[in-house]
Symmetry: C2
Subunit: 356 residues, 2 copies
């Protein structure tokens, strides 16, 4: 009974080596595809590993070679984001993984607790060295995390641009293009008084959106009226509130651009309550289509994109800035403004009769 029986407790590479009567080093080389190993012994090793269910302990490996083969995606998931975003992150995750899995990289999500400072959380995660690279999301207009990551010299990319990260890799939806397209379209239909809804300008999106709106108006020679910019939450209630505020204006708009499709639900309702019919009395265009809005009558004009493919793009941006993969993903630029496509509906499909 020298080395017979079934050594069930698979503790590590050592047991595997003993079971094969091979040195531990050779086993490691065989498993990792290193050159200095006979093809036949390699087969034996792989077969035994498969049979005994051996998989290398990640801690040992990471400690030795200083790499984890894991990419982290940090999400803040504030209560409001969770309520309103329609699985945006899970969809992006799908795109990211479809790229990473080709390189045997695993993606993990790092959800920052609601009661912890995102900066401190990220610092901890970086220091623990549990990931080789990081993707941060929900970027703020000024975001210290960019500096942290740059200083830590860990490869990263951002889902969402930032002033702090002007020269860093990111991918972001083309908010500017959207609002430009929307304004152009509305102006072509005869509108001059166009309202816009946006979240607080602290959030980068809130700033970019309104800034683009402003420049678009300027391009058409329309004066910018601050009263037509409504700050509201990106929710159904927010849409209701936007309608409410616009109704209270003396000189109200003939068209409105909503920043999130969900808002349209509340907006429609409030307007209908007031006897104003979207698509007939007021034009509505909304950013980012979500599957839930299809029921709206009249059909909402909005913008669509493949969030999955945005994830693919972001993954490639990240890999291009990781030394081990950069030659596989050569790039001119590491900053992508992701395009969206206009889906025409009935909510703005009328020509304004009276020129104001």
């Amino acid at each position: 009974m020298a080395h017979g029986g079934k050594p069930r407790p698979m503790k590590g590479i050592r047991q595997l080596a003993e079971h094969l009567d091979i040195s531990i080093g050779t086993v490691s080389r065989a498993l990792n595809g290193k050159p200095d190993v006979n093809e036949e012994t390699r087969k034996r090793v792989l077969a035994a590993a498969e049979q005994l269910g051996y998989v290398a302990n990640q801690s040992g490996r990471s400690l030795r070679q200083g790499t984890t083969n894991v990419i982290g995606l940090m999400i803040q998931s504030s209560r409001e984001t969770v309520e309103n975003s329609d699985n945006f992150f899970l969809t992006v995750t799908g795109g990211l993984q479809s790229v990473f899995s080709r390189h045997k990289l695993d993606l993990i999500m790092l959800p920052c607790p609601h009661d912890e400072d995102p900066y401190e959380y990220l610092k901890r995660m970086v220091a623990r060295r549990i990931v080789d690279a990081l993707i941060i999301s929900e970027t703020q207009r000024v975001d210290k995390r960019f500096d942290l990551l740059a200083k830590a010299k860990i490869p990263f990319a951002a889902l969402g641009r930032s002033l702090s990260g002007a020269q860093h890799p990111w991918a972001d939806l083309d908010f500017d293009g959207v609002v430009n397209c929307a304004v152009d379209r509305l102006v072509a239909h005869g509108h001059r008084r166009i309202a816009v809804s946006a979240p607080s300008s602290d959030i980068n999106l809130g700033f970019i959106f309104v800034d683009g709106y402003r420049r678009a108006l300027e391009r058409h020679g329309i004066a910018y009226d601050p009263a037509l910019v409504i700050r509201a939450k990106s929710s159904e209630q927010g849409g209701y509130q936007v309608a409410d505020e616009l109704l209270s204006l003396e000189n109200g708009p003939t068209a409105v651009i909503l920043i999130y499709e969900l808002m349209a639900i509340g907006f429609y309702r409030r307007m209908m309550e007031a006897g104003i019919i979207p698509g007939r009395d007021i034009a509505v265009v909304s950013f980012r289509e979500a599957p839930r809005a299809k029921f709206l009558q009249p059909a909402l004009t909005c913008f669509r994109t493949s969030v999955h493919d945005l994830g693919v793009e972001l993954a490639e941006i990240l890999l291009s800035s990781m030394p081990a993969y950069s030659q596989e993903y050569p790039r001119k630029t590491r900053q992508t403004v992701w395009p969206l496509e206009l889906i025409p509906g009935e909510s703005d499909a009328f020509q304004l009769k009276t020129a104001k």
Copy 2:
């Protein structure tokens, strides 16, 4: 220039020890709150660690003490799930973390790639020993993952019950209670022909829901008619399809129970197309309220619960089965059927006139 200057490159505990002229062991003990260390030196160590930004390398620590202080939440995120579930997982995650963070445990999400077998993926994750414990979700009716985890002797809990996991820890929504309550309510309003929609019976939910429906009918002495069970996807299209199939029946129902609120959108639309008004001509009750359904007219009667608190419960179930925390979370039972609350609307608020 013995040990002056700023030793910026913080490589590990060794540098920290040298910088303090203290042995490496003492530094470790000081940082980890072990008893055999002078309070003053402890303060010095903590201060220096803070100043130099030292955080223990996780790989080294894990390797030594065989524990990672990380809990994994595996999600499959099939394309359909991502489309339809309204951030259910992110909400649960919030509840989980609110418990875990109290014990300095970190939660990471492990999203299984779409093209990989969930069982193999889990096997890999377990073998790599990147987590101390696991939560699996989207459990199947028979789910090999339970056996895998039990055999690997890694603590785990499931979000969703399973036949395989009958004796294992889980928390799940009370589908049975929901369908019972719905049937009781509809019967009390005079309905005898009640239809139900459910996903495929492979999915555990699909089985439980219909089984509960069947027993509830039996309790009221109503014959079970298979024609009134419609298998459909939990989406808007699915709801449209359910209405369509029900309309084609010779002897149609006077009430319907939908399994997901999103379906009500399509259901309403198809019914209105046929000139049948929900809440007047047909009663509608739906499971699980989502914020998006509030606009429906007439208001949908549905069931609500705090998904966040479900996460809290699940976290406590898991901790109670981890040796290091079990005495802190004593439990009689490790299986929770999570209750939901009825939110009465107008969609079923009428008494059926003609007794059939």
